[in-house]
């Protein structure tokens, strides 16, 4: 490894060294600029139509979000940069009430949203205007009921999601107080957006890992699990044997000991 650097540094006083370096620097600056300007130029055409929405989003952002995420959404020590996270991320985080955070705890919790749909859309438009990112999902546009396959969704869910969200989507613990939340009662579009943006500790499941059709199947399975009646009686939280053991001791042996005390006292 050292050898290569040594070999390279041997030429540092070569008479062509300065022009070569200059050339590299010029190409880098030029190509970066051209790519960046192409992106902004691209955006300007779409932006013009919704510039009022972006402006509105920017003003909401400055009032509600900039104290942590920075005036230009560049991020800070306590909050990540939002440049390039896309509208989907904003729609998910703000739409489910996770942002703005109530406190700086382990992770943002789902709660009643602070902004209404219009304000959320404006925020999303503003953040999307900063740099391209995944677009937000329209609830009506994802036709999981028509295109999903429940059984396939179950298989995909158990393979990709159950290790954190539990076999029935009830949620589970992660390290250091972080957790995978329950997926019961979550709107389909938020499930979809979570998969494409990877909020909190969640990985991103892009369209190559899980195709859009498969994502719809997962949503369909989750909805089926949610609406499935508790076939065996009280569900005990669908969390497995811990609650079952508790019930066996309290309601099983507990009741029987009570009856045994009664039987033994009757004899006298």
């Amino acid at each position: 490894m050292n050898f290569g650097i040594n070999k390279l540094s041997r030429y540092r006083r070569h008479r062509f060294a300065t022009p070569a370096l200059m050339l590299v620097a010029l190409i880098a600056v030029g190509s970066t600029f051209s790519v960046a300007s192409a992106l902004t130029a691209n955006k300007e055409t779409t932006q013009s139509a919704m510039s009022t929405q972006v402006a509105e989003g920017k003003s909401i952002f400055e009032r509600g979000c900039s104290s942590c995420h920075g005036l230009n959404a560049e991020g800070s020590k306590i909050a990540p940069s939002l440049i390039g996270v896309g509208a989907a991320s904003v729609d998910f985080q703000v739409g489910t009430g996770r942002m703005p955070m109530a406190d700086m705890s382990q992770q943002a919790m789902r709660k009643t949203p602070k902004y209404n749909a219009e304000e959320t859309a404006a925020l999303a438009a503003y953040v999307a205007s900063l740099a391209p990112g995944p677009d937000s999902v329209n609830e009506a546009a994802i036709s999981w009921e028509r295109d999903g396959n429940t059984a396939q969704g179950g298989e995909l869910f158990r393979t990709n999601c159950a290790m954190c969200h539990n076999f029935a989507g009830q949620g589970g613990a992660l390290t250091q107080g972080k957790y995978a939340p329950t997926l019961m009662g979550v709107d389909a579009k938020y499930i979809y957006e979570a998969m494409i943006t990877g909020p909190q500790s969640m990985p991103i499941f892009n369209d190559k890992t899980i195709t859009p059709a498969e994502k719809l199947s997962i949503i369909k399975w989750l909805k089926a699990a949610q609406s499935e009646p508790n076939l065996g009686g009280a569900s005990l939280g669908r969390t497995g044997p811990v609650t079952e053991g508790l019930l066996a001791w309290v309601m099983g042996l507990g009741i029987l000991i009570g009856i045994a005390v009664w039987l033994a006292s009757k004899a006298r």
């Binding site: 059984a151 250091q176 399975w221 066996a248 099983g252 033994a264």
Partner: protein, 530 residues
Amino acid sequence: MKKSEKIAGNVANYVDERTGAAKWLKKNLTKVFPDHWSFMLGEVALYSFIILLFSGTFLTFWFDPSQRDVVYNGSYTPLADVKMSAAYASALHISFDVRGGLLMRQIHHWAALLFMAAMIAHLMRIFFTGAFRKPREANWLIGVGLVTLGIVEGFLGYSLPDDLLSGTGIRIAEAILQAIPVVGSYLAFFAFGGAFPGHVFIPRIYTVHVLLLPGIFLALITVHLMLVWYQKHTQYPGPGRTEKNVVGYPLMPVYMAKAGGFFFIVFGVTALLGAVASINPIWLYGPYTPGQISAGSQPDFYMGWLDGLVRMSPPLETHAFGHTISWNILIPGLIVPGILFTGMALYPFIESWMTGDKREHHLLDRPRNNPNRTALGAMSLAFMLVILINGGNDLIATHFHLTINQIMWFTRIAVFVVPPIVFVITKRLCLSLQRADREIVLHGRETGRLVMMPNGEFVEVHEELSAEKKFTLTQHEQPQALEVPTTDRSGVRNPQGIKGKLRARMSQAHVEQVPAPSQEEAKALEGGHH
């Protein structure tokens, strides 16, 4: 004589003339058993075992213990066309397509949990009252064997449906098997017939679960009960109860009726649980494939402590001579449980050695009157509880908004700190209770009735206890500590060495008692003041 009575008489006579049953029945049907609610814990275990036999037999009619691949086409649509093992498919078939199948499956599983819980409660009763002492050491050993086999049998049953949860359990069992130094991987290959999961494990454990272990259970339970019969049941101390008699009610008709009725109550409670509370909803878990796992995967509670131990163990591994020793699995998975169960099995012998007590005991101890043993038991329970908590650390973390790391560190420290504290507190509590007994015997019960004496003095009237109650509170022995023999006959100093010293020290700890009030003390108090 009515005609029916005459026929019954003739039949009885026919049988008796050929078997001599009358004499045997006459003797045994009038056998007396003492009465106490805590003596019925073992009964709960026995009855749930019977329920397990019957409900399990029902399940075998449809269960297909095979790992061959099938495509599910039963009535549970969320799994339609999913590839799974025949075992899992048949368990789904029992749940959804066999009439009463789901109820039976749930009754079977609830009865299994109840079986284990009742055995553990029964074991605690035996321990805390000293019922394991001579001559019942052998029965204690059988009991320890039954609990151990119960854990294994329960785990195998949990593994059979081949759902995602049971597969995860088998995977951990395989890891524990592999952790045995040197031979571990060979043993795992042997058990699974090749690499995990293979195609033979479910059929193999099915044979063990439905044939071998139930057979051993039946044999051990029979011997267990025969020994109770032969050695007679222990009884709590009280007036008229001695080491040489049994005070209670005859088997026929009192206990026949009570035990018969109690069986139906146990069956009723199990059926109620099976009918109203879901247990092991395998259709939600999905079929097992080694690539999948669910958050919050847990074993049943009787294995939860073991899981908790494994979860708290630090990542220790050594590599030597081409072998890897995974201490992180070996210690919590095999060594600690081995020490725990060996210690439990040997406890009657250890206590007898410590106290030098080789006599027969048929009267039970009140737990407070043997503070050291009670404290030891409480200490062991505290240990089990701490590691059981860590077994459910992920669920505790999510439901109480804690971090899983903190719970793990708490239990890692608590597992060493809490049991000794519990020992000390329990021992002090026992001694305090003894002191309270002594107080109430000598001074009577405080009635709360204040009386003004002629001289203006107010006194509270203390009501003297009944003679029976006084006897019960004062009958226990006042054991003496063993002395260390300083020299033997030839004048050699300290003949038993460290062993003797240790024994004397332990015996001293064991006999720590508040002296029960003597006759003289009681007499002295009768002279007027309380």
